[in-house]
Symmetry: C2
Subunit: 142 residues, 2 copies
């Protein structure tokens, strides 16, 4: 396999993360911050979950997710139900407000992508989406 291709990908990835941080920090990129957006999206698509499952999904420390979910609960976007089978555990579920915020943010973020990619062909956008998805699901047991 071509080493130059991978050197180029490596550089573009370093730039991408800088660029995405900059775009998403400017806070015009949706009402919810990134962690909140991902957590609510995960709960929406995979059903209610505890801190541990969420932390594993996003490869974050449990303590980090614990604080993030607390913040979401504080804001009324999720609520916490004790796990009937395990007295230590909880499930977080979306509130109506949480679902509303999720959809609103998703719409705002998609609109931003629309603007960014307006000069791209349909084929480029489709391919980009596919390759990003493939990359995100390419795991390495580290």
């Amino acid at each position: 396999m071509s080493h130059e291709t991978n050197t180029s990908i490596e550089l573009e990835i370093a730039l991408l993360i800088r660029r995405l941080t900059s775009i998403t920090t400017s806070r015009k990129f949706g009402t919810l911050d990134r962690s909140a957006y991902l957590l609510l999206g995960q709960i929406e698509s995979h059903g209610s979950a505890g801190v541990k499952a969420l932390a594993e999904e996003f490869r974050l420390d449990i303590s980090t997710v614990s604080r993030q979910t607390s913040a979401l609960e504080q804001k009324g976007y999720v609520y916490k139900m004790p796990d009937p089978e395990d007295g230590r555990a909880y499930f977080y579920q979306l509130t109506e407000e949480g679902r509303r915020m999720l959809l609103e943010t998703r719409a705002q973020r998609t609109e931003r992508i629309d603007e960014l990619l307006k000069g791209w062909t349909e084929d480029e956008r489709t391919r980009f989406g596919e390759l990003l998805a493939k990359f995100n699901r390419t795991y390495l047991d580290d």
Copy 2:
């Protein structure tokens, strides 16, 4: 243009930034941290530059870059030359050690990409590199 495609790209980008943060934080991703790596790379490829130019390139606040370059200077990876035409300004240049670290980190990071993408076809990797480059250069005057 397809809205679903963009919704999907939007989600994958949110996931990607989380995933990249996780990969690059584990610190097995090269000796230099991301900001140092990008700054040294920029100075290498575009020649010596001042804080302002670097901040613009990476869309960071000048204060942020000022601290980052100070840290690089501290570690002996760059040195600072006064701009002969402007008594307020400086140019940062790579030291030999800085260049060495840059190349070493680039090699380490590329190797990591090699591992991650080892199941991909040559065509997929080429296309991914191209689309990432295109995305990174797709600007929006925000």
